[in-house]
């Protein structure tokens, strides 16, 4: 029987990864080194903060400018504190922390539809009708969250953004979605703990009965969710959501907007032990008037937020334990359309990754003079998440088993980016 090759997982894709790892080390030796590294790293409380740019940010105007090209747009590049790396003139604060961040300027991801791109970048897999892959935050929740017994709040928090599905890992690894105001609806039961215990005892009898009547997975996962919800309601760790407890100086540094507040909450959450926080910033789908929107609205907030978070983590000595990833579902067309906008573009764009004890101050890969294609080696979402996994101490060789017993490669067999981990 010939099985059709799943879209996005063709032979060439596989060979490319094989070749890239084999080129540096004999493959087996490489894998065993990664595993040894993972055991070492997991002993520390690692975390990842994903800055999710919903709609697809024009990275050609932010991280990989093309001055002099017809596609170059209205902005000029400026120097950063890393010699040789230039970014947009409207990112001056970030330019001063570039030595703690890195850019991957050679992303090439093919999916230029919002839904498909969002799925692909969050999971490393293209959508496939037979299985729902877990978003990377759910993978971290499963791999690290379950080992943090002292953690009462969810291991995967998403601020201002819905993030993605936990897929075959199940509802207990779904993102806990909150707004950046830090208020958790209905978290106060207004009764004492004894009363809650009595209610839960009664409920447990009914729940168990239904589970035992053999109705599949959903009734079981319901029980897990209640356990988590009760932990959350009764925990001191709820304070992590209360960003108004921060000194005004700190909140001002992050910015009085949803993105800044979200990043501040993310820092408080990872301090509390949450291993994965996603912070959403929308409004990047700039089909028209891209430069005006960037200069007056998007970039000032983005610049302030990234710089404040990087500095704050660094000053607290947390930067080496917290991976920062910045991405959207794709980049935007190098060509400027008739509405002075940029459309969807997945073939050549940039992802920012920093912190986490990776190599900082790197600009990896490049695009051609007009920004329309990657020159040399390109990277896929799985490679970014493999790099983050490396920093988090999750072995990238790990296999999960889907509910139908099918072995599933973690992050689609992505390989850590060599320049960031060596």
């Amino acid at each position: 029987m010939i099985l059709p090759t799943p879209h996005g997982m063709n032979r060439r894709h596989f060979m490319r990864h094989l070749a890239s790892s084999a080129a540096t080390l004999p493959a087996l030796q490489f894998i065993s080194q990664l595993q040894a590294h993972a055991v070492e790293v997991q002993k520390r409380q690692k975390a990842c903060i994903l800055m999710w740019m919903g709609g697809g940010p024009p990275t050609i105007d932010i991280w990989d400018l093309k001055p002099g090209s017809k596609n170059g747009g209205e902005f000029q590049p400026i120097n950063t504190n890393v010699p040789g790396i230039q970014i947009c003139e409207h990112m001056p604060k970030t330019a001063m922390v570039m030595d703690k961040l890195s850019l991957v300027r050679s992303m090439s991801t093919r999916e230029a539809d919002h839904g498909r791109g969002r799925y692909y970048l969050h999971t490393s897999f293209v959508p496939n009708p037979t299985v729902v892959h877990p978003t990377f935050g759910s993978v971290v929740s499963y791999e690290l969250g379950t080992k943090r017994d002292e953690l009462d709040i969810p291991a995967f928090v998403s601020v201002n953004a819905p993030s993605g599905s936990p897929g075959y890992l199940g509802a207990s690894h779904a993102p806990f979605v909150v707004g950046s105001n830090g208020q958790i609806r209905n978290a106060d039961m207004g009764k004492d703990k004894d009363r809650l215990r009595q209610r839960l005892a009664m409920m447990n009898v009914i729940e168990t009965n239904f589970i035992n009547s053999n109705r599949g997975e959903l009734p079981k996962s319901h029980k897990d969710i209640y356990k988590k919800s009760v932990n959350l309601m009764t925990s001191e760790q709820m304070q992590a959501f209360k960003i108004d407890q921060e000194p005004p100086k700190v909140s001002e540094a992050y910015g009085a907007n949803n993105f800044g507040r979200g990043l501040l909450m993310a820092r408080r959450l990872v301090e509390t032990g949450v291993p994965f926080v996603e912070v959403g910033m929308g409004g990047w789908d700039l089909h028209a008037n891209v430069f005006n929107a960037l200069e007056t609205q998007r970039l000032p907030q983005l610049d302030q937020g990234i710089a404040a978070l990087t500095q704050d983590l660094s000053q607290r000595g947390m930067l080496d334990d917290v991976v920062l990833v910045w991405m959207g579902e794709f980049g935007r067309t190098p060509r400027i359309n008739q509405n002075v906008g940029r459309d969807h573009w997945a073939r050549s764009w940039t992802v920012m990754i920093g912190g986490g004890g990776l190599n900082y101050g790197q600009a990896i890969g490049e695009t051609d003079g007009d920004g329309v294609s990657v020159v040399g080696k390109s990277y896929l979402p799985g490679d970014i998440w493999a790099t983050a996994s490396y920093a988090l101490g999750i072995p990238t060789t790990r296999m999960h088993t889907s509910k139908r017993g099918r072995p599933m490669k973690l992050i689609n067999g992505g390989v850590p980016i060599k320049e960031l981990i060596d």
Binding site: H7, G54, G55, G56, R110, E111, A112, D113, H114, R118, P129, T130, A161, P162, Y168, A171, F176, V177, I184, R185, N186, A187, M189, G190, R195, Q198, R199, A201, M202, M203, V205, I206, N209, F210, I211, R215, G216, E217, L218, P219, S221, H222, K223, I225, Y226, K228, S229, V230, L232, M233, G280, G282, D285, H287, A288, R335, S402, K403, R404, R406
Partner: protein, 586 residues
Amino acid sequence: MHRWNLSSNCANFLTVGFVVALACCFVSYSTEVAAARRPSSNKKTASAKRRSVAKRGASTRVERTKSSRNSEPFTTGWSDTIIEFINRQVRQAWEEKKIQSSPVADDAEWLRRVYLDIAGCIPPAEVVEKFLANKDKARRSKMIDSLLDDSAYVRNWTTIWTNLCIGRQTPRRTSRRAMQKFFREAFAKNRSWNVVVRDLVTAEGHFEENGAVNYLLAQMTMRDQGVQATAKTIRLFMGIQVQCTQCHDHPTNDWKQDQFWQFNSFFRQMRRVDHRQYDPNTGRMVDDFSELVRRDLAEEGVFFEKRSGLMQIAYPFFFDTEVDPSVGLDRRTELAKLMVAGGRPYIAMAFVNRLWSHFFGYGFTRPIDDMGPHNSPSHPELLERLAMEFVQSRYDVKQLIRWITNSKAYNLTSRVTRTNQIDNPAAGETALFSHMYVKSMEAEQLYDSLIIATGAHMSGRSSWDQSERQRQQWLRQFVIAFGTDENDETTMFNGTIPQALMMMNGQLIQNAISAKKGNFLHSTLSGKGSDAVKIRKLYLATLNRYPSRRDTLSATKLIRSRSNKLDAYQDLFWALLNSNEFIFNH
């Protein structure tokens, strides 16, 4: 324009009727009344009439006796050649996969399910009791009929299609109220689905006067030359995903970029006009009304850009059918004609697939709106036959629901047995429908069910608009947008911590268990009867079944162990409402 004046008059007339009907009670009890009236009544309802037409010749009311139950094939009391065909096709797949179906669900399990699926809420306790005492062999098929005649059916399907067409977060300058009014009329009159689709695709005019325009207005929040309207129309009504072909040929099927723009060229005559007015109170201009108008095109073709940067031109084609490209010809009307033409058009396939998935939790393809040669259906013959019959019934939505819900598969229990464990679509397997799949309730279903279970519908005399407003307000906490220009959104609802927190501590539940004078818990507790009687009432209201002897024993024990009886009953009610058995449709 005459046409629209006429239909908006009808709509107004209907709305008055609805408000009156709903003012009496939130979810009507006409269900039981209708069922009781049926045998003696000379005046048949429209749907009953239609059914008797469809029944003629082929259908049979099968009388079963207890002794023959095992050997006789299952029936709800009504069958016809199409239901038999469904049963045969589904059974054939079981045989091929060497699995056996689960037993037929008992009446309580089935009633709760059919209520949730057709009426959008759980059955009231008194309906459950009557149904469980009913010995009529055709009680299931009669229940289906009466639910289809209930105003709750109209409300449920209005909710479903309003959400599909304009989302839960109504875009700015879109009238949710008028969109709902359009669907309320469509489902109340059981208008043919092809006519509904035609009205939505061809709509013009004022957004309150012609509710149908809100579908397209909601896709026109950006000046995107009808791109979103094109993609959404093909996806929602034809079950095909083409949004990525806006920019390039489809990666996995035969769709080409030209085709997207050929379809798009049908939508290029429409313009949204947003009127503003002066507000004397604030001295500012504020939103007045919006409308959709048709303007002649400047030229016949539409231009689009190939990946290479080359500009190309596209003319109106519906697949291979060329349409007169004259600039003044109303292209959406031409499109609507082509969409509904033929013996088994896409709109029929897409609707059958969506409806099947509504009732079983899984459709014939995954996802249901990505059909095509790259995604072959699990039961191709069944899908095609149902689509064909749907067209031949003149797109009779209620009839299609009747065929599905009277089938054996729909009547099976959700208990998985050893002989059909492998039928587990949640794990990625092809759905074989050998047992019912447990479904999560939609947010609206849960809200309406909580209202029923806690008796909140008995006290308030709220109008349709009022209760709808309260419901929308409650729903808002669970919807999150993705931040793209396509207005896509997701519900952070099922199986999440926010949902659990809402069920444990939310205002709705607090009110329900407060035992305030007049509410369900208060009247249950102040009524006569032993603990066992009261426990039974709580079970009937929430889980819609009698408690088993074990249920009663453990509940009694818990209640007797507490010094404060009211506290104990409140806690039992809380526990029932929060249980998995309540929150799932099974």
